[in-house]
């Protein structure tokens, strides 16, 4: 008897949830894929869905403070290369691409800066501070290739890959504070715990970006999203393939940066080509208007 009753309650609740899901699609269509993803992930790993603190719940302003700290960390290790003309060009290109992504709005918007390093590398912090080395720029033979580098980094910001590399245990104990349910006084014991969680989070992300690497699956997603952004704006994805071929060539002698942190260019080329099946791709025109400005703005790098 008791059993039947509870089964009925269960059925009713499930129906209700499904009905609400259908209703909510109208309003929350964007978040839905993410929710389904999390549910399927939870099912796969056998964990419960109730997860108290998901990094994705951090507000853009909190993400911004983490991003600033990670950026400050990167800039303590890599010297910026400041060149007004090149910088402005990079920011117009990068911010335009970001506007066409599925996450055009971070707290303060996207910012791009060149690093004075021969290493082939680029980084994206949470919130949208994006860095690209001179070495990486030298792998680009066209604006289309440079757009591919930036689109890949924007994709990491869009999917919050940096935030997702924070060890969950760091945030659990201060979850209620991070979710804004309770507030702490500056200098109190709870405040120290929040500071500790912040410190740990910044370290986790910085380590991931500089010394270790994201999973292969994460990089595949970033490359696929990059192709989406590029084709949405109208850049030629052949520039992406050209870039990866150049990187592959250079990695024969240079085994720093992306050589260590990213999948081999060969396998990334496969991912890009897979995304472009059914499309006819034209060769890059090295003398069109955008490649003339590409050369003019980045001369000397």
């Amino acid at each position: 008897m008791k059993n039947i009753k509870s089964k009925q309650i269960l059925k009713f609740c499930l129906l209700g949830i499904i009905a609400l899901m259908l209703l909510s699609i109208n309003v929350k269509s964007m978040d839905w894929g993410n929710v389904l993803n999390q549910v399927s992930k939870a099912v796969k790993t056998g964990t419960k869905i109730k997860k108290a603190m998901d990094v994705a719940n951090l507000t853009p302003l909190q993400e911004h403070y983490i991003g600033r700290a990670v950026a400050a960390n990167i800039l303590a290790k890599y010297k910026p290369y400041y060149n007004q003309k090149a910088d402005r060009y990079l920011n117009i290109l990068g911010q335009t691409l970001a506007q066409a992504s599925d996450r055009p709005n971070t707290y303060m918007g996207y910012r791009f800066l060149i690093l004075d390093s021969d290493e082939i590398n680029s980084f994206a912090t949470p919130g949208g501070f994006i860095f690209i080395t001179k070495g990486m720029i030298r792998c680009c033979n066209s604006e289309d290739s440079l757009a591919a580098v930036l689109a890949h980094e924007i994709a990491h910001v869009q999917w919050k890959h940096g935030l997702r590399s924070i060890r969950t245990k760091r945030l659990v104990s201060v979850g209620a504070v991070l979710l804004g349910e309770v507030a702490v006084k500056s200098g109190s014991g709870d405040f120290k715990n929040v500071l500790k969680a912040f410190n740990g989070s910044v370290n986790d992300i910085s380590n991931k970006l500089i010394n270790s690497k994201y999973s292969r699956a994460t990089e595949v997603v970033a490359d696929q999203t990059a192709v989406t952004i590029l084709t949405r704006v109208g850049y030629n994805p052949q520039g992406f393939i050209d870039l990866l071929k150049t990187m592959q060539e250079k990695f024969r002698h240079d085994r720093h940066g992306f050589y260590k942190t990213h999948p081999a260019p060969k396998s990334r080329i496969r991912v890009v080509k897979q995304c472009l099946r059914g499309y006819t791709i034209k060769e890059i025109n090295n003398n069109n208007a955008r490649n003339q400005r590409f050369k003019a703005n980045l001369a000397g790098i």
């Binding site: 059993n3 509870s6 309650i9 269960l10 609740c13 209700g16 949830i17 609400l20 899901m21 909510s24 109208n26 309003v27 929350k28 269509s29 964007m30 507000t59 853009p60 302003l61 909190q62 403070y65 983490i66 700290a69 950026a71 400050a72 960390n73 303590a76 910088d87 402005r88 920011n91 117009i92 506007q99 066409a100 055009p104 709005n105 971070t106 707290y107 303060m108 918007g109 910012r111 800066l113 501070f129 604006e143 201060v174 804004g180 309770v182 507030a183 006084k185 500056s186 405040f191 929040v194 500071l195 912040f198 704006v233 109208g234 030629n236 006819t280 791709i281 069109n288 208007a289 955008r290």
Partner: protein, 167 residues
């Protein structure tokens, strides 16, 4: 055992209902500044207004990552879902749900997690280069308008080089 499970599901059910209800009416701007456009498309639209952190809008409908919204001044337009949240920002812990004055994000976050206070303490204990981070954020050269972006794409002849199914 079973009843316990049902109870849990009931809680999830009520919780979901709460989220959906809250999400279907008002949303708040969760970024520093957000553009409102005439159409749900970056390339084929004009900026009709700009909103600040904490300002509220009413959702009319949604489409592929965009919300059609009504602004406090009764104008309507489209905003990226990434600019908005169902969260409301409270002034004080345990206090009334007073809405934060638009643009007053530091107050909204005070004491609630990773904020300016936390960064201040963090900076005292670490060797970091915040100088350039501040510079990246404040540099007027980095503030690019939508008009400049469009001109950039047109000048660069950034056109779709292929059509889907064009074999």
């Amino acid at each position: 055992m079973h009843l316990n499970k049902s109870l849990k599901i009931l809680i999830v059910f009520v919780f979901t209902m709460g989220i959906v209800y809250a999400g279907s009416k008002f949303l708040s701007v969760q970024v520093q500044s957000a553009r409102v456009r005439s159409a749900p498309n970056f390339f084929m639209s004009k900026v009709v207004d700009k909103l600040k952190f904490g300002e509220k809008v009413t959702v009319l409908r949604s489409k592929d990552g965009w919300y059609k919204v009504k602004l406090p001044n009764n104008k309507t337009g489209w905003m990226s879902t990434s600019a908005l949240t169902a969260k409301t920002f409270k002034l004080k812990a345990g206090g009334r749900d007073a809405q934060v004055q638009a643009g007053n994000e530091e107050l909204a976050l005070a004491g609630r997690g990773f904020s300016g206070d936390v960064e201040k303490s963090f900076r005292q204990n670490n060797q970091l280069n915040y100088k350039w981070v501040d510079w990246m954020q404040a540099n007027p050269d980095y503030k690019i308008s939508i008009e400049e972006m469009k001109k950039f794409l047109i000048d660069g002849e950034v056109i779709v080089p292929f059509e889907k199914g064009d074999k």
